[in-house]
Every structure is written in C-alpha cells, then in structure tokens.
Assembly symmetry: C2
Homo-oligomer: 330 residues x 2
Amino acid sequence: MTGETIGSDSADDNDDTLAAAGEFAVIDRLVAGRTQADAVTLGPGDDAAVVTAADGRTVVSTDMLVQDRHFRLDWSTPHDIGRKAIAQNAADIEAMGGRPTAFVVAFGAPSDTSVSVAASVTDGLWDEARQLGASIAGGDLVSAPLWVISVTVLGDLGGREPVRRSGARAGDTVAVAGELGRSAAGYALLHRGIEGQAGFSELRQRHLTPQPPYGQGACAADAGATAMTDVSDGLLADLGHIATASGVGIDVDRRLLDGDRQAVAEAAAAVGADPWEWVLGGGEDHALAATFPGALPPGWRAVGRVLDGPPTVLVDGGAWAGNAGWQSFD
Amino acid sequence: MTGETIGSDSADDNDDTLAAAGEFAVIDRLVAGRTQADAVTLGPGDDAAVVTAADGRTVVSTDMLVQDRHFRLDWSTPHDIGRKAIAQNAADIEAMGGRPTAFVVAFGAPSDTSVSVAASVTDGLWDEARQLGASIAGGDLVSAPLWVISVTVLGDLGGREPVRRSGARAGDTVAVAGELGRSAAGYALLHRGIEGQAGFSELRQRHLTPQPPYGQGACAADAGATAMTDVSDGLLADLGHIATASGVGIDVDRRLLDGDRQAVAEAAAAVGADPWEWVLGGGEDHALAATFPGALPPGWRAVGRVLDGPPTVLVDGGAWAGNAGWQSFD
C-alpha cells in the first residue's frame, strides 16, 4: 500500500496531514468559500444535499477511479485527477442528452496525505464542474490505503427524452463530437517517457484531463439523435454498444477520421505505434458518438453509417483486426 | 494488497473470476432479472439512469466503504457488506425527512474475486434497497487492490422542506428512533472473539448489518422536527453537530436511555466495557436523532432537551468524560 505523504513539497507551511487535521476540519477547509450552482438548493454540511430536478427527473451516473488503475500520482497532479473524475462522469450525462447539474464525490486517501493535496483535488473537481455551470454538492472523505475517487453526477434532461443506445436505425449517419485518439496517444507518450516536441505535451495533458465536448449532448438530442454514447472504451467498442443495443450494423469510414489520425500521427511515429489503433481503439477521450437520421448539428462530424443488422462494427466495410477497446478487468 | 480469491468455497461449479468473465459479462449477470422500483424509469445498461423526482427536487448523499476500515471480509459476508452500504446511505436521506428512491453503486474489487461473490454483494444491495421500496439504478465495476464500495443514494422529500441540523431551539425535546449502542457492542464482541450467549449473535449482526428505522425520517418531518441527523459517529458526536449548527446546548438524560444500556449490558460485562460508552459514543447504528417542539410521533422516544446556548452536549447536566465518537482519520 502507498502510505507516503504526497505533495510534501507544498508551499503551505502549515500543512497538516488528513489525520492530524481530522475529518471535519478537513471537510470545512475543502468546502469553505465555494459558491454552489443555482440547481443546488442545499449544499454540503448536512446529512444530504438537495438538488433541483426541474423537469421532475434526475439523470444519474457513477464512476470510480482507482490509483494506479485509472490515474498515476507520478503523472497527474492532484488538480488533474479532480478534473478527470468530473469530466468522465459529466460525459455520461451528456451522452443521454442531458446537462450535469451537481456532483457528489467520495474520496479515499491515506491518512498521511496532506490537506493541501486534498484541497488541490477539490480545486480540480470544482474547476471542471464550473465549466459545466455545475457544482460539488456533497461528498465523503475516508481513510484508504490508496487513492480512490468515486463521483456521482446528477443531470437535467430539460424535458427531453433520454437518448439511449438502442435507437439507431439503418440509414442514420454516425457522427462524433469531440476528439478521438488523443488520450491514447498521451498515455503512450507518458508510458514510454517520450518528451518530444511541443505538441506532445498537449497530448499528454489530454490523457490526464480529457475535454469532453460539453453541451453537445443536449444539442444532439435537440437535433434528433436516435442513439448516443460517450467514447470511454474506444470508438469501435462504444459504437459496438450502440450496434448491439440497436440491433444494427455500423460501418466506420476511416477517410472521415483522417483529421484525428493526423493529430496523433507524429506521436505514433515517435512511439512506433499505428495511429489508427489510437483513433479507433483508444478510450478516455470522452468524445460523444451518436446516430442522426437527418442533418448533423454544428460541432458534429460524420464518421460512418448505420447498416441493417446483424449487430457489428465494420471499418471501411470490413472487420477490424486491431485493438477494439478497454476492459476493466485484465 | 489482498489478492486472494474470496469465496472459493462457493457452490457454483462454474464460478469465473471477474477477470475471466470480463466486465460486461459480469455486469450483465449482476443486472439480470432485477425489477426496478417505479421511480427508476431507466435502469442500468446505458450511459446513465433516469430517476423520477416527483416534487422537482432530489436529495442526494454519498458514502464510501473501504475494506478493513469499514468492514472486514472475515467478519462480514458479501451479502452483509451490500446491505450495510445501502443502509448507511439510506439513513442520510431519512435524516433529511426524505425517502430513498434509488441508489447507484461503484464497486472496486481485485480481479481474481469470483463472480458469485460479486453477485452476493449485489444481492445484499438489492435486498436492503427493496426494504425501502427503492432499487439499484446503476453502477460501476472496477479493478482495485482491495474492496471499495461507494454508494450514492437519491431520495424524495415528498414536498417537505428538508430537516436540517440547524433548526433546534431551546425547549425542544431531543428524541431518538431506532437502536443505540448495538453496533458498538457487536464490534467489541467481534473484535475480542467472544462467542457467548445467543443475544451476542444478534449484537454482532447489528454491527454487520445496521437496521435504521426506515420511514421514521419522513414521520419526524411531518411531526414538525426542527433538526435531525442520523447517528453514524455516536449519539453525543452527532447531537454535537446539531448543537453546533443550531447554536444551542443539548442535555441528554441517561435515565431515558436505560433501555439501550440494558440491551448491551451483558455484552459490556463480557467484554469488560462500560455500556454507556457504547450507548453514548458508539456510531454506526444509524438511528435517527431529532428535536421536536411538540409531541413526539410514534416510534420516537425522548432522550433529552435542547437548552439555550452555548453549543455543547451535556450528559445529565454535566460534561461527558468518555469517548464521544468516531473520526475517519486516526
């Protein structure tokens, strides 16, 4: 178990550990001075928070991030980890056609973690939530032998029907909003320790703090998207979920993804990898992928078409032999 | 890190590990055949779930349980752990005067955990949620070096104002619904390995699966409770939260708690402990404690009175020298 004090180079001269400060004092410090989003009518400090659900429904999703599995403390800053935890959860609400309103966060860390490090994680959570007009409505802080961050996001469908994975129909256009392959490229650069050119730094940062196309989920729903998901496991794997749920085939046209390939081509050359593996198989960019019967809304680009069944995902009309995505247990 | 396969004595002859079965197959098995509560209009299987929020608000709380910190695999069955995770979260919604409607659960476990053990945890989650008329609307399953269960509960206030900790006023009656001291007694018996008489078995089980007084939170709100919390850290510690938030003193009358003392007296004698330490300082029973300006509703019993400030909690009119409750980091 990792029991070392993290962030001991902090500039805070009065930087207690979580154990020395005590749970309630730490929570007071993490909560102090934060302004809740309008949707949060009762924030931290009581047994539970109260969040407005304007149309009488709440969309809800949860994700757990575990140290050395979903992030590394020698790659990510505490602030990065907070941002990523919010971003990947927010993408799940976007993928239903909703907008995130509030988050609750459970954080487990060793008792000798410094309070300033926990505060940096919290700053990261807040900074990313604020990009969405949302806030951190509550949480839990516990002792654990390693870092574990579990985020639950609440969202508002704004009167829309949720866009499920099961509505794709033959003839629909398959489209993407957001980036593909960047997170996988950044991971490979970090894993190999390749510094390289300036653009590589941006790719590395994309792995540490993905940038989902906030707002595009609701736009897609308004534009009549028939099915949608976020790209967390890899484009082909996640389109596979749509194909299975909808009982359709999907054909991805690589010519339409050449911009993504180009964006990671130099990194792929430096690593000795095939950039298509990253564009088609790399997860964690948290782009959105959806199917549309009509015109695409601004911010979306076509990447393929929906075919009559059986449920399968093709690339340029044929099977794809490469890596198709991520499994949680391997 | 605990990497052993848990539950290898399972009767299931075809019992893969999580790694062998794969994330999606495991989730399919955990989700199959479950009937969602009416409030859950879209359950697991998509990017997010949809839960009805009938009065336009959602009450939300989250708690993380970490192996060897909040439960032990040699004391609890997987089913117990699932039940406890739901019960302690549900109590937070009760403590606001609400009723739980749905839960989302993130579960981290070693990849060599057997699928049947994960299924037992899930059965425990569902069995406890069903007692509340609620269900498990979604979740996440990840690889972790030890068990971590993070539960978020959504609840419905039914048009009521949330009962906060800050509304207690001098002259109010302090009252409790549910049990006190049993969880602490059970912990001590388990910790010392004392088998003893038949009643000890029930106390041990109370520690493993607390039984909050479900439904009493909403009853208290309807009866005009001015402040409420659940007893998770210990009666005096949790009344301290009310005292601080409300700016009042609270005086607990031990004569009114003699039934609780009697219920754990034999266990205390067997362990060599003071039963009052458990009744006044023991947490995790998830009883409810509230203040009422008028008559108590059925199921509630007076345990003390609210005084003019300063914020403090007295016992029989004086300071209490014993253990007053739990800190997450020690």
